[in-house]
């Protein structure tokens, strides 16, 4: 007699399978999809502050932390009650209001009224998240202000914040493009062979025109784009471009810069490039920019804070302040200079060298700061000049070797000026990037506290003294440093 198979086995198999599916779903929801999206946060511009909020990917959608979004705008008191997030929010000068959402539900309460989200609210690790697509409605009803969200560009404007600009091309020799703002702005400016790019991260710059074309021999177009939490204004020309800052940062004047043959700008410019004395028409444009250009490179920036001078002073901020003072001092001495970084933005070491080399400066000055030791240290590159076999091609890692003599002259002059001002100083070689990669005379200056009190390093008087010394040192040897090639 044939024995029948127990019915419980297939049922148990099915139950096990269901359990496995449930576990896989839970793992995907709680572990895999709850990972924050790498990189780009949401940039938020409001009257109170500029801030950025990290995004989290849940169920294939971008989510934003509700507390992180509201905290810079007022006082937030949030608590998790079971599966519910209860949040009390008080904006400055406003009455307290209550917001309530439940994990896994798309309905919530805001000021006692119902609100429906386009996707479910989520609680992850004790923090409440709303879908990015719901941010406009939630904020508009919470703050009673106009909200403008560009979800593709990850830029959020609260209230009437937002700065438009005007473009005014004035033909001449050379032509000048005036970019004017209503308030001072602080973009990062980067140039390559025939472009100049203004990158706005903290400034709430809004588009006036997306694209403008010009029938001009020097400046041909301007294009405005928003993406990844930033705005960019690209100016394209037929030759190298430079930007001058005017009107306290309200106006930027783009005009012709040092001309670089494109094939050279892409690589390391050899020091003795054989340029025909009568350049072929169309290959080279008449030189219109400054002949003696100093590139100032405030080190670090963005997430790379450099040394923590004190708990409140980061190296990246201190050197930017010093860089601006140095630019002002050089300008007073009629020396043209340009900052590689003029805001808190990260630039890689290679990118710094590429940008500096493309500008073909007469001198490159890197600025650093430290909280150990005293005084000002002036460095030249620790590359072996004897390794220079040819001047026709410079290895990237030791490009500075061809310019060590001139670099040492500039460093010595700055050390002498520091001595004149009775500032403790030293002059020595250092292996420091990107100075090693600069195909031009290059030095690095590191400031340390003037005495035993470390915060004195940031005093205006000390920074002014250092900036004046560097500027005076550069001016003193100006005639010994070859000008940028026309």
């Amino acid at each position: 007699m044939r024995r029948s198979r127990p019915r419980s086995i297939p049922i148990a198999g099915l139950l096990l399978l269901a359990l496995g599916v449930l576990f896989a779903h839970w793992y995907r929801q709680s572990v895999v999809l709850a990972q924050p999206r790498e990189g780009v946060p949401l940039s938020v511009y409001s009257r109170q502050a500029y801030y950025s909020v990290p995004l989290m990917q849940l169920n294939g959608q971008s989510y934003v932390g509700l507390v992180e979004l509201l905290e810079p705008l007022g006082t937030v008191d949030a608590r998790i009650d079971g599966k519910k997030l209860k949040l009390n929010f008080v904006a400055p000068g406003s009455r307290e209001l209550e917001v309530q959402f439940q994990d896994g539900k798309d309905k919530g309460k805001l000021k006692g009224d119902n609100i429906k989200l386009p996707a479910n609210f989520s609680i992850q690790n004790g923090r409440g998240f709303i879908p990015l697509s719901a941010v406009s409605e939630v904020l508009a009803r919470t703050l009673s202000q106009q909200i403008r969200l560009n979800p593709a560009a990850l830029r959020l404007f609260i209230g009437d914040v937002g700065e438009h600009f005007t473009l005014d091309l004035r033909n001449g020799t050379p032509s000048k493009l005036f970019i004017s703002f209503g308030v001072p702005v602080n973009p990062t400016i980067a140039a390559d062979s025939n472009h100049i790019r203004f990158t706005f991260r903290k400034d709430a710059v809004l588009p006036t025109v997306d694209q403008a074309s010009y029938n001009d021999p020097l400046i041909t177009s301007a294009q405005f784009t928003e993406h990844d939490g930033i705005a960019e204004l690209d100016i394209t020309g037929t030759g190298a471009l430079l930007a001058n800052i005017a009107d306290g940062g309200r106006t930027f004047v783009v005009t012709g810069g040092p001309t670089i043959p494109p094939q050279v700008a892409q690589q390391m410019p050899p020091p003795d490039l054989h340029i025909p004395s009568q350049p072929t028409e169309g290959l080279r444009r008449p030189y219109t920019g400054p002949r003696f250009l100093v590139i100032i490179d405030p080190a670090h920036g963005g997430p790379d804070v450099g040394a923590a001078i004190t708990p409140d002073i980061a190296e990246k901020d201190l050197v930017l302040t010093l860089a601006r003072r140095l630019q002002r001092e050089l300008s007073n001495q009629h020396v043209f200079s340009s900052l590689l970084r003029n805001s808190d933005i990260a630039i890689s070491l290679d990118q710094r060298a590429i940008s500096a080399n493309a500008a073909r400066p007469a001198l490159y000055v890197a600025l650093h700061a430290a909280n150990t030791g005293h005084g000002v240290h002036v460095f030249t590159s620790m590359v072996d000049a004897s390794s220079l076999a040819t001047r026709d091609f410079l290895p990237w890692e030791t490009a500075q070797a061809a310019y060590l003599d001139t670099s040492s002259i500039a460093a010595g002059s700055i050390a002498a000026e520091l001595e004149t001002r009775k500032l403790q100083n030293s002059l020595r070689p250092a292996s420091l990037r990107p100075t090693n990669n600069i195909a031009a005379p290059a030095i690095a200056v590191e400031i340390a506290p003037p005495g035993d009190n470390v915060p004195d390093i940031a005093s205006a008087a000390y920074l002014d003294q250092v900036a004046q010394s560097i500027a005076a040192g550069i001016v003193a040897v100006r005639n010994k440093i070859p000008e940028v090639r026309p």
Binding site: I11, A307, H368, A370, N371, G373, S426, A430
Partner: protein, 196 residues
């Protein structure tokens, strides 16, 4: 509900419970493993017994911006790379303490020293060591010079030194000194000559 199904439910409940206990055990094992690795990373000092040898150290003084030269007799192993390893560990132990040890900086200072030919040494330092050094152009150059000068002083054949961090090439030591290149004894000679 029939009896077999009830039994299967109970079995499944047991399985679910077992899985939970297993997950908890796995979590604990990760924590234990991390603690074991942290213990392994404690500083290993050179042997304190056996015949001693006079060793020259160049120790950075970040405040003065110079190297301090000192000579001490310490016990060293016979094998060449083991000797250099012991010398560097002894050197690192003499570095000024810049901050109280934290879980991130309390790890081992030196992972290994490799020799290539007679003249080249590759020093593999730990990330904890690199991160614990003060950030700054001069401070980091002093650290590099200290390593190169100490190796060269105790083994003059070594004239080229490369520094790795956690077995990998790192762009800078702590934001400044270039670690992508080989340093030569000649390049740090100025520091060694100025040493007090």
């Amino acid at each position: 509900m029939t009896r077999p199904i009830l039994i299967m439910f109970l079995v499944l409940l047991l399985v679910a419970g077992g899985l939970g206990i297993y997950a908890y055990h796995l979590k604990n094992r990760v924590v234990t493993e991390e603690q074991r690795l942290a213990r392994q990373q404690s500083i290993v000092l050179p042997p304190s017994t056996g015949p001693t040898t006079s060793v020259t150290f160049f120790v950075p003084s970040d405040a003065e911006g110079i190297l301090h030269r000192s000579q001490e007799a310490i016990a060293l192993p016979e094998e060449r790379s083991e000797r250099l390893r012991a010398i560097l560990r002894a050197l690192f132990a003499r570095y000024p303490q810049t901050a109280p040890a934290t879980p991130n900086t309390a790890g081992s200072d030196l992972r290994d020293v490799f020799l290539f030919g007679n003249d080249t040494a590759v020093v593999d330092a730990s990330a904890a060591f690199a991160d614990s050094r003060p950030s700054g152009v001069l401070a980091e150059d002093l650290t590099v010079a200290s390593i190169v000068a100490t190796l060269n002083a105790n083994n003059p054949q070594i004239v080229r030194v490369k520094i790795l961090v956690d077995g990998k090439e790192r762009e800078t030591l702590a934001g400044h000194a270039d670690l992508r290149r080989f340093y030569t004894a000649g390049e740090v000679d100025t520091f060694a000559k100025d040493a007090k």
